[in-house]
Point group: C2
Chain length 199, copies 2
DNA sequence: CAACAGGTAAACAAATCAGTTTACTTTTTG
DNA sequence: CAAAAAGTAAACTGATTTGTTTACCTGTTG
């Protein structure tokens, strides 16, 4: 059985294995934690031999750093469509982000922010992982900053940081409590936005 | 050299070893995570033999549950004096809690909320640990609820939850970013309180 | 066809993990 | 004092960990 799809040939085989490993590791790290997830299981789930794995990722921590980068890129892609919409104001986009996050957090399968979890396991132990976590949170802050800087507010960066605090808080509580959020987050976000608006 | 203090004899030796173990484990779990901390190191730091450890805590997870309870009791004791003061209004106490938390989070040694970190490592794996984490967060919420219920606000429980969201968010960001909080948290808390006040 | 890069499968090494057991010592207490 | 309770130190088990190595296979390409 040869290659059947003669259209759209030349798929970059090179990076396929690497991505398979990252995706399997991402799922396992998210669901079971970093230390608790062994490389043998990752390689089995990825359908890849151990040797291949250690060619792409010389150490497990290298893989963790790559997974955290993947986590951010994945997150970015999920937000892309929303951020690109021109039928929504920046303020509406912010509210929409919290709505989407709220739905995500409400899922029983939610396991908290991977970067926060990684920090809990590797803080003070692996600078590369620490750095990857900070890069992620910095990016999250940048997303909000991009949205608030064109809002009629006095201190857009302060507002962005407050929004991030809100998002983190929701996530952490959802992760631990695993029950629907009893408050109206949308209203809380709107109050925050109103409090900063000069117009 | 016999026992010198003939006054106040009969110190309950029984629970001393147990507490030593919990305190050493608390420190190590906080600084290095749960999976990453081996029982051999805990027992060495506690100055206790392995056998004794396994008499008090048949499994490592039993110890983790005990540490999480200790974490809560410790937290409660740290808040006791503040909550008992009668020269402060409930509103002032809430603000004071955030000020203290802010100072704590600003410390470079801060490693995030132990219950959140535990959830990141044991979510879906150990019901007892999960439960201990939820008990901790429920207690945190109760502290705020006790303070808000006597405030002139419409929905004291909602306000309490929002305060908890704020506290969690600050903690999670501080844990990852490890840099001073760029916003005025006291003002953010006051805004939140003002937004709920009917008077 | 032949060379070769990239892959598999599995055995292996060395360390570490949680937890057990044994033999002995210290401390408390009736 | 003497029995009993609680402790120590250290060897040990068996499973698991990350990471290495060996021998073999496969698809592509000059």
């Amino acid at each position: 059985m040869r290659n059947m799809n003669n259209e759209n040939e030349a798929v970059p085989k090179k990076a396929i294995k690497r991505l398979q490993i990252i995706q399997a590791a991402f799922k396992l790290f998210t669901e079971n934690g970093f230390y608790a997830t062994g490389v043998d299981l990752i390689m089995r789930q990825a359908g890849v031999s151990k040797r291949t794995m250690y060619i792409y990722f010389p150490t497990k921590n290298d893989l963790i750093v790559a997974v955290l980068e993947f986590y951010r890129i994945n997150y970015e892609r999920g937000l892309k469509d929303l951020l690109a919409r021109n039928d929504l104001s920046n303020r509406e986009k912010i509210v929409a982000i919290f709505e989407e996050a709220g739905n995500w957090f409400a899922n029983k399968q939610f396991h908290g922010c991977l970067a926060v979890n990684a920090m809990g396991e590797f803080s003070g132990k692996d600078p590369d992982i620490e750095n990857a976590c900070r890069v992620f949170k910095t990016w999250e802050l940048d997303v909000f900053s991009e949205l608030t800087k064109e809002l009629p507010v006095m201190y857009p960066n302060d507002l962005a940081f407050k929004l991030l605090v809100l998002l983190e808080g929701m996530g952490a509580i959802a992760q631990v409590m695993k029950q629907p959020c009893p408050i109206d987050i949308k209203q809380m976000v709107n109050d925050l936005l109103d409090g900063h608006c000069v117009a």
